[in-house]
């Protein structure tokens, strides 16, 4: 639906201040950036991580006492979807060298590398191959690629500054030094990065970067990377097998305590079946679909944090989950587009963020957490948010500035995906600004691992959003596509090597699940809640009230 008359009236205030703001931009005058101390204060006062009730202690498992989002705790304090006693660990449906759980960017990058190192690979994925947050990442991929002005040194400083200086140094070191290699790898696979005619990669700033090192493929960088990696995996179907609609619901260990496979679930026939593997890589991604604190999300339908649950039950520690990333610019209008990611690149290309009076109130390139906290402050305490027809509140993102700064047609050229999408709703984002508000975007933390992607369980590796440490307490734009490629490749290599040289044959078991259930009972957690969630349920609650069949009574459920 196009903007209402009321909103169109408010847009006039944005248009009124625009010429002066464009001139300022051209002169290189920026809205002042907050100091580290001011950032800290803003986060403590306005970021959702710090509101009352934002964190609750986990009562069981290796991180007992660690306080994180209650929505994640609820999944950790839940029972297995399947009674371990009803599973016969001797009945193996598939055997492979490396089992990869998750078919997104990290999982697919891992598969390619593991296969190149000689391993037989099986990818088990909950939905289709490539259905993942990687596909939805828009803005770009960071790497220091221009030696005359940038280097991994500066990339490192940006990463740890964004992450509140708590990042795991070794992981950041790996991320920034592998970055140029990963970019070259993607180029060699045929990724269509946006380039100048002579081949020089185009780069932009992202929030919190000191050099323009955001490489991109128009505004669908993640989709371009994901579809290329997937296409390459499909060139190797004899060695990389993919099981779709088959989420993992439990890891399998062996008598030596090594990871040796997983229990998968066929979403369509509702069967559970076993995969035996010499090494397992967890690459299930994030958890936006848990709608932490009721926030809308930019995440994929399958982002339900399954890998956290499986790894934790098996004994792997969690880290950095006490912070959650809210992307400052999720669409709040029209309703059909709610929660949809509006890439940070829009701000990188010059668009200001504005309140109801068309005034700037924050620099548009603060790190994401600070930017989000500033939007929330403007909409709550300051009270200068823009009310939407559905009772929400938003901030203007002045995209038409980009056409003025970069020349007519720039919005359409640089943001073709969003341009088409909004045009369908009768909004031309090269002429009218967008209404945005922070939206649940990224799981900053996850399973603890090292720079070889090893976890505390031999034979069990992690990569991508399911893991934690590299981004500290807040990830910068363009570092997640980089993360999945860098650590996906490393995980693939490590797992293949482990499968070849270290894996030890042994009797399989699900004892860790029984132990976990027992520990829950001892902690007084009596519940019929099960995890992993696998998929959210958005079906109409009124319809659900009428779904009264007792399961499997009679001939049909």
């Amino acid at each position: 639906m196009p903007y209402t008359a009321e909103l169109k009236e408010l847009i006039k205030k944005v248009e009124a201040t625009r010429p002066a703001r464009v001139e300022k931009k051209k002169r290189g005058e920026e809205f002042s950036v907050l100091s580290l101390k001011e950032r800290e204060e803003r986060l403590r006062k306005y970021h959702p991580d710090f509101v009352e009730g934002a964190r609750r202690e986990i009562r069981v498992g290796p991180n007992k006492g660690y306080a994180i989002s209650p929505e994640i705790v609820a999944l950790l304090e839940a029972r297995s979807r399947v009674n371990p006693d009803s599973i016969d660990v001797n009945k193996i449906a598939y055997e492979t060298d490396v089992l990869i759980i998750g078919g997104g960017g990290a999982g697919t990058a891992a598969a390619l590398t593991a296969q190149e190192k000689g391993a037989k690979v099986l990818i088990a994925t909950k939905l289709r191959h490539g259905d993942a947050n990687t596909m939805m990442a828009e803005g770009g991929i960071q790497a220091a690629s221009k030696g005359e002005k940038d280097s991994p040194y500066y990339h490192y400083l940006d990463v740890v500054g964004g992450g509140h200086f708590n990042n795991v140094p070794e992981l950041v070191y790996t991320l920034v030094t592998e970055a140029p290699k990963v970019l070259a790898w993607l180029e060699s696979l045929g990724c269509m990065f946006t380039k100048l005619p002579e081949g020089r990669l185009q780069t932009l700033h992202g929030g919190g970067t000191c050099r323009k090192r955001m490489h991109y493929a128009a505004d669908i960088t993640g989709a371009e990377i994901m579809r290329t990696l997937r296409d390459e995996a499909r060139n190797r179907t004899d060695k990389i097998k993919v099981l779709e609609f088959s989420p993992a619901v439990e890891l399998i260990l062996n008598e030596h305590g090594h990871c040796a496979g997983a229990v998968l679930y066929n979403l369509e026939t509702e069967e559970y079946f076993l995969v035996k593997a010499k090494a397992v890589i967890m690459a299930t991604g994030g958890s936006g679909r848990l709608h932490i604190q009721g926030f809308m999300t930019t995440n994929h339908y399958g982002a339900t944090g399954d890998g956290l649950v499986l790894g934790y039950r098996a004994g792997v520690k969690l880290c950095f989950l006490h912070t959650v990333q809210y992307h400052p610019t999720g669409a709040v209008f029209p309703e059909q587009a709610e929660g949809l990611l509006i890439t940070e690149k829009v701000r990188g290309a010059g668009a200001n963020v504005l309140n109801i009076d068309g005034e700037q109130f924050v620099n548009e390139r603060e790190p994401r957490d600070v930017e989000s906290a500033s939007f929330i402050r403007e909409c709550t305490e300051v009270g200068k948010g823009i009310p939407t027809p559905t009772g929400k509140v938003g901030i203007w993102l002045d995209s038409p500035m980009i056409d003025i700064l970069m020349g007519e047609g720039a919005v359409r050229r640089e943001f073709p995906g969003k341009h088409i999408l909004f045009r369908r709703y009768g909004i031309d984002i090269s002429k009218e600004p967008m209404l945005v508000y922070p939206t649940l975007h990224y799981q900053n933390g996850g399973l603890e691992y090292n720079s070889r992607c090893e976890t505390s369980i031999p034979g069990f590796f992690a990569a991508g959003e399911v893991s934690g440490g590299v981004h500290g307490e807040n990830r910068l734009m363009g570092n997640s596509l980089l993360d999945v490629c860098v650590f996906g490749r490393i995980a693939g290599g490590s797992a293949a090597l482990y499968a070849k040289e270290k894996a030890k044959e042994g009797k399989l078991n699900l004892d860790h699940v029984r132990r976990y259930h027992k520990e829950m009972e001892e902690a007084g957690i009596i519940t019929d809640r099960v995890a992993p969630m696998v998929l959210p349920d958005y079906s109409n609650p009124k319809v659900r009230e009428r779904q009264l069949t007792a399961r499997y009574l009679g001939t049909i459920r």
């Binding site: 100091s35 030696g147 140094p169 070259a184 696979l189 700033h205 994929h300 010059g350």
Partner: protein, 246 residues
Amino acid sequence: MPTEEIKKEELVPIFIMGKRYEVPPSLTIQKAMEYAGYQLIRGCGCRGGICGACGTVYRFPGSYKIEVGLACQTVVQPNMYLTQIPFFPATRSSYDMERIKPTVETLMKAYPELLRCLQCNTCTKSCPMEIEVMDYMAAAMRGDVARLAELSFDCVMCGLCTSRCPAEICQYNIAILGRRLYGKYVASKAEHLGSMVQAVEKGKYDQMLRKLTDTDEERLKDLYNKREIEPEQADEDWIPKEKTYL
């Protein structure tokens, strides 16, 4: 429109695989199916118009026209008869990217059915992304890899073109081969990236990075605060004053 009015809005009839449901008119097809009571497994992915999981075809009573859309992006209309096409069998060739060339022969060898194209334009009319599919197919037949890549760039690989093609061609797989050929062989190589990779591999930055990994938080904060920021409006040839860590 105040909230109460939205709540009171009248429901409209839609027909999901022929069965009538009443849904609020502001919903997308995807949300309308959920409103009707479906919990989606197939036919739902990113919910943001980029993954291609939710290709949908629909028709209105009395109209000959088959319409298409992504369920997560298309708002319902009264009396639409719809079905999702969450999967459609496709042809796909395997190729070794290191051994092929960006030529018409490569495309023809991988997908000989390319020549069966009748130029009927049904593919273009079936594309929810409004891509000129027939035009990129024509580019493929000419071996114009650059044009094929450019025209097909927004493809979400939903498969609706393939489901409707009378010549039984799988357009979107031809398109991705074209884009990969373009990205790898036609577009000029990023020379600066190659030099950076060499420098990294030679260990040029190891020592300076070790200074960062081994330093304390206060010193890190100091270095962070003193970073020289490349101006947003700077040209491509901007060079920093401090060059010690380049």
